[in-house]
């Protein structure tokens, strides 16, 4: 053991967990090995540093619980991400949908009105007067037909 370097022991075992027999074996080796002697001392300093650091601890402040409960309530009120997104964009989406519906209603209404004359017997007024839209008074179907026959004769 006294011939074997001890650095691997220092790295594989927690320093504070080394037994008295481990320490005595290590001491036997470091008496003649400068590198291991340094490593042993440094490991001892490292263990001391950790010990001092971990001696510090904090207790919860008096307002900690109130703050956490407020944060929990806030989180509960937030709800799921989709609901939050919907609340933020809901008004905009609703107004856009309303605009689309209004536009559709207006478009179909105008088209319906424009298609009405095609259904009417407008083709019957085929004389020049009808084409030139010179007729001042609205004629009955009989009058229109007689006008057309006269033109053919």
């Amino acid at each position: 053991m006294s011939e074997q370097h001890i650095t691997s022991i220092l790295e594989s075992i927690r320093f504070a967990s080394l037994s008295e027999s481990d320490h005595s074996r290590i001491r036997a080796h470091i008496a003649s090995c400068v590198d291991c002697a340094r490593a042993y001392r440094v490991a001892s300093v490292s263990a001391s540093l950790l010990e001092n650091r971990l001696a510090e601890t904090f207790e919860p402040s008096p307002f900690f619980h109130t703050r956490v409960l407020a944060a929990v309530r806030e989180k509960q009120n937030e709800g799921p991400a989709f609901a939050r997104l919907w609340r933020a964009a809901g008004a905009l989406v609703s107004s856009m949908a309303a605009a689309v519906v209004l536009f559709a209603v207006l478009s179909f209404g105008v088209l319906d009105q424009q298609s009405l004359p095609t259904d009417a017997p407008a083709t019957a007024y085929s004389a020049e007067a009808l084409i030139l839209d010179d007729i001042e008074e609205e004629q009955t179907d009989g009058q229109v037909l007689s006008t057309l026959y006269e033109a053919d004769e």
């Binding site: 967990s17 440094v42 650091r53 510090e56 919860p60 900690f64």
Partner: protein, 169 residues
């Protein structure tokens, strides 16, 4: 929450030295616990479940924090150099027990730990600092036991190297 907060604070204090950071971590732990209460199946203790959440929360906070660059002798204060030198030379233990000396050592340790990776910090704190069994650390972190052992081995080596650099003149 009143029953478990001292434990959560104690645990988070191992990873953060500023009260504000400890409180931030503890608040996040309880928020997660409230929102994930459904995932607690009652198989283990509530304390164990909260400790697992605390470990993961602290590890994530450490990972998101910026790592300090490697320290050299020139970064040390006079008190810190004095503490290291006297400790290294094996001066009387009583000298280091005073609260002021402990604070110097704790400051220095925190700065050394800040140069290390979050995983190294975690394993040094739990295994070497808290003397937690490897199996328990494996359960807390979700790592395998062999990973904990290897990580501890490497972390001790890196800690020793970092301290050695501060002692070299």
């Amino acid at each position: 929450m009143r029953r478990y907060s001292p434990r959560v604070f104690h645990f988070a204090s191992r990873f953060f030295r500023q009260r504000s950071l400890v409180e931030e971590a503890a608040q996040e732990v309880f928020l997660k616990a409230f929102t994930q209460l459904g995932s607690y199946e009652g198989r283990g203790s509530m304390e164990g479940w909260l400790t697992r959440i605390t470990t993961n929360t602290c590890l994530n906070l450490l990972r998101s924090a910026k790592r300090r660059p490697e320290m050299t002798v020139s970064d040390l204060s006079e008190d810190e150099s004095g503490w290291l030198e006297s400790k290294y030379s094996g001066a009387a233990e009583e000298e280091f027990k005073s609260s002021e000396r402990s604070k110097v050592a704790a400051d220095l340790t925190e700065r050394v730990l800040e140069t290390m990776s979050p995983d190294d910090r975690l394993v040094l704190t739990l295994v070497d600092g808290e003397d937690a069994p490897v199996k328990e650390v494996a359960e807390l972190t979700g790592w395998s036991e062999s990973k904990v052992k290897v990580q501890a081995f490497r972390a001790r080596k890196r800690m020793r190297e970092a301290v050695e650099k501060l002692l070299s003149k």
